[in-house]
Symmetry: C2
Amino acid sequence: MYIAKILTTLRKTILDPQGKAVENSLKSLGYDNITDTRIGKYIELKIDAKSRAEAEKTAEEACKKLLANPVMEDYSFEIIEGGE
Amino acid sequence: MYIAKILTTLRKTILDPQGKAVENSLKSLGYDNITDTRIGKYIELKIDAKSRAEAEKTAEEACKKLLANPVMEDYSFEIIEGGE
């Protein structure tokens, strides 16, 4: 069993209004040393695969087909062995 | 300048309907070896701090005060030196 930890983020060139809103909220709390706030998704899933390579392939396909928007988002993931 | 990479996830005991929806979508795409899908938020922010300790303190406070819901969510973060 493998655990895939996937991050999707909006591409750098795309405006991130949610991130901007969080940044403004932080500023209003007094944190004016925080900038460039970007918000993405974190997805954790367990993959029942025979090998790490197979788990990586499954995670890659899941990102491409469903989890990330290939036009607007970048994704990255790491595969960890473990889980029961 | 430091970059904080923050993850917030729903606590294990709390039902994650968004994760369940993603899991069902993956199953309908034929990935029936994927289970325990959990969805969280990924937040990246730049902190202008004099030291790593100060950046950690700022990130910790931002999580507690704004980014994570302390009742329902866990958070973790890592601080990376860099950015311009």
